[in-house]
Point group: C2
Chain length 884, copies 2
């Protein structure tokens, strides 16, 4: 038996099904399904994707049996419609559409009215009784076919149309007469002959095969190839071709066309939402020349709704809505046409929806018994939740976009521009809403970032300091905005388009899109509804991966806990060092030339750090708290600019030359690979000793005075060798045990390490002998594994991603085949040496859904992410557990 | 049967053997061996290392059977010697010495004359007939025992001796009389009682067990533990104890003591080399108070040699020399004593020797039929060859060392100080020998480094720019000399000890030791002898690993070929960019804002690069040449200092502001992880295209005009993903094939990549689909795997190595358990994807013997190293093949 290449649908019978998308494409599969369940679908057939594959495999030839199959199926359509393809008296007209598994821009899309020529057009005049309609349809066909099948420049025919209107002295297409269209058809054909040197095909069979060939041909055009490359769609998938009999919504006032959603896609409300136009073609609804009317009065309207204008058709359509939702068990996006009072369904598919709608629909459908909780959880994409947690721009507001940068931290805010952290703080104190604009931020800007409503930087990537800190604070940020030049001296920044923005000017940032707008723009804030709570409840039932947060302050910890964080996975102690009163002591320590001096300075910091930890432990009562010991190189705590050094020398009463010398001595060529992390702990043990003391005294005091149960997890960063950890662990254990004995309490504690260097991952078995937990620092692990500085990658990484040399920014989504391989290896080696070792991740990837799924797969115990991404990580973890 | 713990030797019978070093220690095993082969060894016994282990395992108690065993063996010694231990009339005296597998500083070493007390000393007076000798021996014993066994402060007894000499009005110990010594013994004992609160033990058995206990105890003292930690010696090895009857070289003029080597350890000449002293103890030969005399007239001497003074003993000793060499088949280092005309052997061991001696002895012994070629090859340590290839300081010359840095590149040179590369060049042109002193060097200093005889830098590690380039040039270099402060403005440097060295002052560098000396110091240059050639011939017979060189110029290539290089493993093309006439074009390219401008500048560089490659290919005719495309970030080609920028702006006729802006734009936080390597090739394909063109045109021209057969290997650096390589390879292949077709010749070429990022190693299977060869860039791979910048590591890496947190500098010797694991993984993955893929290494490790052995084990095809290390790598490769 010959292979089956063509699948018929019509009159309640279909050879295809909804689950045959791979073979028939999305459109063809759903047309077949709708037909089978008895919906009124114009008959037609689908040429399968296998034909496309065969076509390219066999040097651009069709399977031998295809022609006969197409003819046979066309006959079935003719029989059902009572019309004959190419018959001058009673012709069948068809549409030819492509339909791949995934919709794909760049592919040939649609040819309508195929089968028209100078003879058959007369048959259409007879069928419709409307000459103008028939010739309008004819000229549309010639125009469309010339464009998408024959590859004619669109502008040539458009120009002829314009000339015709000028000649006739009219402005609108609708003012042209049947004869005008008839003349234009002839002029179009002549122009095609002149331009392309070939005749426009008059034979409907030739037209049909031309269109089929154009669909298959477009699968391999450059745009389609590029799109597939960018989206990792294999060329082998191929496209299907749908040939379907035409129906018309523009044959008179008993005709209409419309699109609808079975529920409101913006809010998720359960009512029938849609728009239609009387006497119109599908493209008119979208084109916006006429204002579409609502299909019903579910929401207030001045326009006559379909339920009143065409009550019978509306009744039918509403019934179909119910059938479709019950059948597909999801909200549907449908297209329909009414020809002379008869309703036809042209498409159905799962509808796109906003985040709030996704949640409401999912929760409602569980209540309605349509789906179960698992399905509901899987219906909401983790990344969507971001929308819920931040205000967004009012979509109806006008925007004057002056620059575009990276969407570094979501949300939308307006405020007046300031250029220094100090200004941000003082302005904010007077109640002004400010946006901090910097070339880039450093840890010294933290107080200004706190005070500002949003942050805009000219340099730095998605994981630059500004981006990471802003996300941690849940604050809107546009980073790496190369479109602006910042002039600190002049207190202005200049956008690429020439706009100069001065200090005090109002701007608006959209951190979800990376846009910078001049002036204020209205924003709308989303609310966390009861549905959100219900859904997240189910999420927590299914997930097995725990979700912690990265938090350095009691405030962050509190926010994260409200979002469902189950502990702190990363508290960066150095952020506590930048506070104005502390930085002086830190600098005093750095400038000391001997141990005594350093210890004296550290003694000043000790009570402050202890206070920090007490605050954190209180917020996180009953949950684990992982505290990382000092990580950045010491030079980050000293100023670098000449003037700042001079100022500091006055404050600290230290000679400028001594300060400069220290800055010089501490200078590093590659600070990322320098004297930081545990290397500081090894060479200056007094620093880590102070921090360990602060942690344990805080824990012991709470246990003693407030009856806490707390398990501090002391985390040592940048370990490369087991020996480093064993030395530092031994120091820490001595201090901890001494303090516990002194307080006379029982406190368990863990000592573990970051795995953030390839060597640590490679020798994780050796390290696990000492480490009681691993936390993967995938930011630095990505930097070292790729040999890629995230502070410098901005110069070429965007080019890499645009040109598909990298599928994604590896600082946003974990590089599973490279960095992920190390993570997996370290998990296995770690477990081999210490059964049940606690494993987590605290890099930025802990809040990225696909990375969270990876973490679940390699068997981590938890992920840790910034407070505002905790719900996203929880949902992603549930998806992972449900095998998504 | 009880375990055997004590091994007897004496009178031609021994229970031990030379191959029982693990059980008996080196000294004990060789004493047994010498006894067995009939040499005159004073009888004694060895308490095995197992006793040490048992002692510590069982809470510091000896095995139950030990006391009886010691007694029984002591009886055998008494029987042979005809003296009784502790007998007042005819006492046996013994020495007690430690003896581990490897000699170990910090351990208790020796107690002589044990068994003496106020009674037995009288027996010694009777035996020797020399009261002064007896009491001198007695006081020496008390002094030594108090020090090493009882832990008495040495100074107390030394002070009593000084007091005694003052009281007697004499200057030398030898001027004290028997009575003086007798008094001193009493005074010593009284002082011991006062200081330690215990009596000096009079009972010889107590003395013996005290000494044995002290040896075992010293195995666990702090110094020994630290030494073992530093040298990776397991504590379980334990030490043995040797108890041996005393013989005396200081009983009169028929007594003597000496040390000898069976061949000259400095030159390797085959004659009996040694020194002796009449009427002396072993320590006197070494102490240098009396000038030792030669044992024979093999070399001219004014002193009476032993062969004339004691001809019979000499004859015996010479015979023993032959026996020992035939028996051990290696040059021996021996100690002997003559007591009253009777010769005793006290020690033999393989002798240490210089590099020239090692080679000569190995080659001679093959000729003599003593050893085979394999053994000869294994007798020379690869690292030793370094001595042969560079001049060294005359050991007899006086040195005024003013500072110490890292021994970055071996050799010794004197010259006058200059502070800039330009000065170095201009001074050298006038014939002056100069030493270039810089805070650190950069690629812009290359011409000055070429012109200088030696290089001294204040900053940077063993793989800093200065160190790497100097080693490549075979030029002496002391790097990272933190002891000096360089003042460019004042044209001076100041050493830590206060010495100020001005421009034009003469200094001397010892690059093998890292020493900086004021003034000139005479040097001696070693020659490559015929023996060297013979040995290297055998080396090449055994090794399977090929050895290539890292060379950027025809001169380097030529030198390396003379040293046996079998191709170029790494030609760094960027070094060709710094030439004065080229750097202008390079800068023009960097400053161009568009492709056209860059291509115009590159067109100027093309013929120069082509010329470079023609030169290299000619030198390397018939051998493979691997050329790495541009690697460093572009900012390395622009000046950074204000004044340099201003100067350049004049030369290039570019506004200062534009230049500064470019420098700023190109600035990177972590250049090591920045926009360099293949990332430049991806974003500026025109640069790599020019280089590929230069390589292929050079190859094609030589093939066409000179009938060459050459296979250029084009190497793409810093690959992180297979996609990068596939894009760049495709570009290169198009260019190569076009050029080959244009010239109408046949040229094979390979396109491969560096594996120098962890991600490349982890995904080596994907990369090998494109790469025709891998070359491990272990410098950068070490930096990224460890997260360790070699330019910055100087601040903490020395501390790490000193404190044994790292066993070695991983930039000098490959970190096999971390970086090596990646290399191994990449080899396996690479071979799995491309059978027979060519594998090499071009990092600095390619010239480090232990790393070369690792490379052999993981199955690399070749190592590549700087020209002057090629012989070292060849020898190491042979050692590897011979299973060393």
């Amino acid at each position: 038996m010959a292979q089956k290449f063509v699948y018929f649908f019509g009159d309640g019978q279909a050879e295809g099904r909804a689950d045959m998308k791979n073979l028939l494409g999305g459109k063809g599969a759903n047309l077949a399904e709708m037909t089978s369940i008895g919906l009124p679908v114009p008959p037609g057939f689908t040429i399968s994707t296998e034909v496309c594959t065969e076509f390219y495999k066999n040097n651009n030839t069709y399977p031998a049996s295809l022609a006969a199959d197409v003819t046979a199926n066309l006959k079935r359509v003719e029989a059902l419609m009572g019309r004959i393809f190419g018959d001058p008296k009673n012709p069948l007209l068809v549409s030819v559409r492509s339909g791949a598994r995934a919709s794909m821009p760049g592919m040939m899309d649609t040819v309508l009215n195929l089968g028209l020529n100078d003879q058959t057009v007369l048959g259409i005049v007879a069928q419709s009784g409307d000459q103008r309609f028939a010739y309008d349809a004819y000229r549309r066909f010639v125009q469309m076919y010339a464009d998408v099948v024959m590859g004619m420049e669109k502008e040539v025919l458009d120009h002829l149309l314009e000339q015709k209107k000028e000649a006739k002295g009219v402005h609108l297409d609708t003012d042209l007469s049947a004869d005008d269209w008839k003349e234009l058809v002839a002029e179009f054909k002549a122009a095609i002959k002149t331009e392309l040197g070939v005749e426009f095909p008059e034979d409907p069979q030739a037209q049909l095969w031309g269109a089929i060939g154009a669909v298959f041909g477009s699968w391999m055009n450059q745009r389609a190839i590029t799109y597939r490359k960018l989206n990792n769609i294999p060329a082998e998938w191929g496209t299907a071709v749908n040939v379907q009999s035409m129906v018309y919504g523009n044959m008179g006032d008993d005709c209409a066309t419309g699109v609808a959603f079975t529920r409101d896609p913006s809010t998720g409300e359960n009512y029938f939402y849609g728009e239609y136009l009387v006497n119109a073609q599908g493209e008119d609804v979208v084109a916006g020349i006429r204002t579409p009317q609502p299909i019903n009065r579910a929401k207030e309207t001045n326009l006559p709704p379909m339920e009143e204008v065409m009550p019978e058709c509306y009744r039918q359509l509403a019934a179909i809505r119910d059938i479709l939702e019950k059948h597909y068990k999801d909200m549907q996006d449908i297209e329909f046409t009414i020809e002379k009072g008869k309703l036809f369904m042209l498409q159905t598919r799962n509808g796109k929806r906003t985040a709030p709608a996704a949640i409401k629909i999912a929760v409602d459908m569980v209540a309605e018994g349509l789906i179960d909780k698992k399905t509901a959880v899987l219906r909401v994409a983790p990344e969507q939740l971001d929308q819920l947690l931040h205000p967004s721009l009012d979509p109806k507001a006008k925007k004057n976009i002056i620059a575009k940068g990276l969407p570094a931290s979501p949300g939308a805010v307006s405020g007046t521009v300031v250029f220094t952290a100090d200004e941000a703080e003082s302005e904010a104190k007077t109640g002004r809403k400010v946006i901090l604009v910097r070339i880039e931020t450093s840890p010294e800007d933290i107080h200004g970032m706190h005070a500002a409503r949003g942050i805009l930087t000219a340099r730095g990537g998605m994981t630059s300091h500004a981006a990471v800190v802003a996300r941690g604070m849940g604050k809107c940020c546009v980073a790496g905005c190369g479109d602006i030049k910042v002039d600190y001296v002049g207190q202005t920044f200049t956008a690429k388009n020439g706009t100069v923005v001065k200090k005090g000017d109002m701007i608006t940032l959209d951190g979800s899109k990376g846009e910078v707008m001049l002036g204020g723009v209205a924003t709308v804030s989303a609310e966390l509804t009861g549905d959100f709570g219900a859904l997240m409840g189910w999420v927590d039932e299914f997930r097995t991966l725990k979700v912690r947060t990265n938090a350095d302050t009691p405030h962050d910890a509190k926010v994260a806990r409200q979002f469902g964080a189950e502990g702190i996975g990363l508290c960066r102690t150095e952020h506590m060092f930048f506070d104005a009163e502390r930085i002086a002591a830190v600098r005093e320590m750095i400038l000391s030339d001997d141990l005594e001096g350093r210890e004296a300075a550290l003694a000043k910091i000790l009570p402050m750090q202890k206070g920090d930890f007490i605050g954190l432990f209180r917020e996180m009562k009953g949950l684990p708290v992982t505290i990382r010991l000092l990580d950045p190189p010491l030079h980050e705590f000293l100023p670098q600019a000449e003037q700042d050094i001079i100022d500091l020398s006055k404050t600290m009463k230290v000679p400028v030359s001594a300060l400069k010398h220290k800055v010089e001595t501490l200078h590093e060529f590659n600070p990322m690979l320098g004297h930081r992390g545990c290397r500081l702990g090894i060479t200056y043990p007094e620093i880590y000793n102070m921090q360990v003391k602060a942690i344990m005294e805080a824990a012991c005091e709470l246990v003693k005075n407030e009856g806490f149960s707390i398990v501090p997890e002391i985390m040592i960063p940048l370990i490369a060798t087991a020996k480093e950890l064993s030395v530092l662990k031994q120091n820490a254990v001595v201090i901890c045990d001494e303090i516990i004995a002194r307080y006379g309490v029982t406190v368990e504690y863990l000592i573990g390490t970051m795995i953030e260097l390839p060597r640590a991952a490679l020798t994780a078995d050796e390290i696990a002998v000492e480490a009681e937990f691993f936390s993967f620092g995938t930011n630095d692990l990505t930097q070292t594994t790729f040999g890629l500085s995230r502070d410098d990658a901005g110069k070429f990484l965007p080019f890499y991603v645009e040109n598909n040399i990298l599928p994604e920014d590896p600082f946003v989504s974990l590089d599973q085949s490279g960095v992920g391989k190390l993570v997996k290896m370290a998990c296995e080696l770690g477990r081999s040496a210490r059964k049940g070792i606690k494993l987590g991740i605290c890099g930025e990837h802990g809040g990225d859904p696909s990375s969270v799924i990876f973490c679940h797969k390699v068997g981590l115990d938890y992920v840790s992410c910034s407070p505002f991404r905790v719900p996203i990580a929880r949902l992603a973890a549930a998806h992972a557990a449900l095998g998504n």
